[in-house]
Every structure is written in C-alpha cells, then in structure tokens.
Symmetry: C2
Subunit: 258 residues, 2 copies
C-alpha cells in the first residue's frame, strides 16, 4: 500500500482496489471496504477515498447500490452469439431433424439451457437515416419495423429492431406482433431468401432510453450491431439493429481465408 | 424549454442539450452555453445546470476541455476495418500485381488515403490467461508478443498485440521489433499459413493504461477484439488482441449463408 510512483493518492486507491478485484480477492457483487476502514488503512481523507472509488465507477468496475453502497460490478452470465452461423443454424437443424425451430435467436438461447422470451411490437415507420441507407429506401419509402426486447431467464439482454421495406412484406405474417417460427427464418417464410449479410459494429455509450429498457448499470457501454441481409441479386431485404450491452454479451465470428 | 413530464430539472436540461446536439444546432467541438447563460435561460441553480451537463458527460456526448470548459464531443474520422477481408487482401493484391505489400493493416489504411504508422515492441512473455487458452499453451509455455500502437495521421487509433507460441517463431524475423512487410502476412513469411480465424468481440470501458495510450476522452468505450488464427489442421498459430475505441472505429464483417 505504499505510495506508487507518479500516482496521485486517489489513483493509488483505485490501483489497489483494481488489483484486488482482478485477483478475485474482491468478487463480483461484494461490497467495497467501508470509507472509514479505507481512511484508517491508507491514512487519507474521506474525500480522497471517494475520488479513488469514483475512478473505478467511471471504469465500470464498481457500481453504486441502493443506499449509495459501493459494490464490485457483477456481470450477467455472458451470452455468446455466433453471428456467422446464427441464422443458418435453425435452418440446418430443421433440414436434419425435421423439427419446427423457433426464432433463430430463441433456439440458440434455448440450446444453451436458458429460457428465451421476447416482447414484440410491429409498426410502419419512417426508418432512421442509417437504416434507410442500408435498405436503399427512397426518401419517402416506409419500412415495417419489428422491435423486440429480448430476455434471457427473465432479464433483459438485448434490443433487436428489424426493418423491412414495406412493399416486400405488406400483408404477410411479418406484420403480426408475435414470434414467427419458421424454418429458415422469418423472411424465408414469405419466400424471400437472404444469401448474404453485411454486419457493421459500432461501440458507444447507451442512450438514456436504451439504459432504461435494458436496466443497465452506470458505465455499461453497448455494441450497436447492424446486419443488412441481401438476396442473391444483392437486393437488401432486411436491416436488423441489435443493441448488445457489453456486460452480458460476446460477439463471435468465424472467418475462413479463401 | 417547458418542464417535461416526469423529468427532474437536471434531466430536462440534459434532454434539451441532447436535442440541440443531435439536431446539429450544437456541433462537435463547439462549447456548451456558459453556466450563467443556462441559469438565466432555465431559471435553475448552478448546481442543477451542472447535474444536467454531468448526465451528458456520462453518456459520452459532452467532454471536459482544458480549463474545465464543456464541449460537444468531436469524434475522430472513423476508420472502418473489414475483418472478413483484412488479412486476405494484401495477399490477393500481391498475387495480382506482384508488388510488395506492407503490413495488411497499414496497406488498408494507406488505401483509404490516410497515413499509417505503428510503434512495435517485441517481448517474450507469460501471456494473459485468455490468450493462453486461445493458443492452447501449456501452463509454463511462453509466447512471443508483438505489441503495437497504431496511428492514423499521427493520432493513436488502436492497440494491437499479437501473441505467437514461442516454439513456432523463435529465431525468425518475427522476433525483430519492426514492421514485417511480407506477401501473405507475417506468419506466411516463415512458412505458417492461417486457414481460419475465430473472432471474439467484447465491449467494455477502457483500462486506465489503454485510455492513456490512446488519449481517450472520458466515457469512451472500447471493443476488445480477439482474433485467433489456425492452420489447416486446426492448430492455433496466433492470437491478436486489438483494442478499438468506439469513437474512431467501425468493425465490418461479411457473412454468406451456406
């Protein structure tokens, strides 16, 4: 606990606590030592102790509980989504086993021994600019939006909003606000086959609304994952924007070098 | 500027400023209105104004400049890396044009009309646990680490640490702390060919060291991108851990559904 070269006192406290967290001495969900205890241990003022703890809150290693107590952040059990196979897997499973697969995401979660659930709302919207560009929609073109909050074991894990050009899906079961279980996926069920995807991943802090819908602790960044699906002729069929909080997700890809 | 339903005063200030930023009324790099001006405009206390601004700092929309001035965050010009083709492209270019390609990353950046530079240090290390697992290293196995800070137009853009099993690369040019320009990449130059990659992407706040090396503004999350490269027999040859700040990167993949 001696003063470390080039560190301020508060940085020193943050450094020590960081070490105790990464070594497992302080575990996820555990309370930090009380301010009084740290004041005695370090011989520093309450203000200095607080400044040190604040550094760890900004780094996302420590969260504030109810009653202002400070705890080591406890991550959700991470869900790993393999985006290379996510949408081909249920189709494949069907071909082989002849079962009815659910939504590809739901079946991926269920296979991991967890309980998937999603709340779906369907609406006809002017899509966000980014989505409009992905879908090659004209300026006045509308999209059908299927917005989902995805739960794993009753905890909110992700927001997933799919947008379809209105002309492609009007009058189909995609317009209904419920889970569409179809071999090959929701688009295949109406005769549209995605042959290729382009995925773009951006990393940022959540908006206020995202933080509320996903019950995010402070300092929890998200990946904004935008998947555009194309048919064999390169026509965009769907744009799916998924918000994946960093404390409950890993994103996986497999790439072969040909 | 009227009080919005269900919002506290500080949330109302954050809401208004957020709207002005997203509408472009307040642009990246521009100073926020002064506290005194906002106090007059809203009729709220200095403390309330500060609390509202603090909400936007936590969201990463506002940064604190020197002298404690508050500014709309100005993102770096984003660099888009296509991880599906990143490592095959220079090989391909060589095959076709017979030129000497540089490091794949450097040539990708140069093609975008920007100036790449990287500082490289080489060391023999006990790799982090995560890397040890990716490389299937025994408990006492060592790795050769090539750690790079990657600059674009003289600004730090990413940290990229490649780890190789020591037995594979000892005594080769990979041990030299300089850019290895080789058709097909650094491993191919010593006869090792990567046939497949597995990429795992995690999203988190930066460590203190990462924030310093990359000169990150507050509330800037990073992607930790771990690429493991395997030969045709499934033997791991390399594990590359890249730290990609969200304010200067997009990650791209192309997936075909076969």
């Amino acid at each position: 606990m001696s003063m470390r070269r080039g560190m301020t006192k508060s940085q020193e406290i943050a450094y020590d606590l960081r070490e105790r967290i990464s070594s497992g001495d302080l575990k996820g969900g555990e309370a930090l030592p009380s301010e009084s205890k740290m004041m005695t241990e370090y011989g520093y003022s309450r203000e200095t102790i607080r400044a040190g703890v604040r550094l760890l809150i900004e780094e996302g290693l420590v969260v504030t509980g109810q009653g202002q107590g400070k705890y080591v952040r406890e991550d959700y059990p991470p869900v790993v989504w393999n985006w290379t196979t996510l949408e081909s897997r249920s189709r494949h499973a069907n071909a082989v086993e002849g079962q009815t697969a659910g939504d590809q995401w739901a079946s991926a979660v269920a296979e991991g021994g967890k309980a998937p659930r999603q709340d779906i709302t369907v609406s006809i919207v002017e899509p966000p600019l980014h989505v409009r560009e992905c879908l090659n929609l004209p300026e006045d073109g509308l999209a059908v939006a299927r917005k989902r909050i995805r739960y794993v074991d009753s905890r909110p894990y992700a927001l997933a909003d799919s947008y379809f050009p209105q002309e492609l899906v009007a009058g189909t079961p995609l317009m209904e606000p419920r889970d569409v279980s179809a071999p090959g996926g929701i688009l295949a069920s109406i005769g549209l086959v995605q042959a290729k995807y382009t995925d773009e991943i951006a990393v940022r802090m959540p908006t206020r609304q995202e933080a509320e819908l996903l019950a995010l602790p402070a300092a929890t960044p998200v990946a904004e994952h935008t998947r555009t699906g194309y048919d064999a002729d390169g026509r965009p069929l769907r744009c799916m924007v998924t918000i994946l909080p960093g404390d409950r997700h890993k994103i996986l890809y497999e790439v072969s070098t040909d």
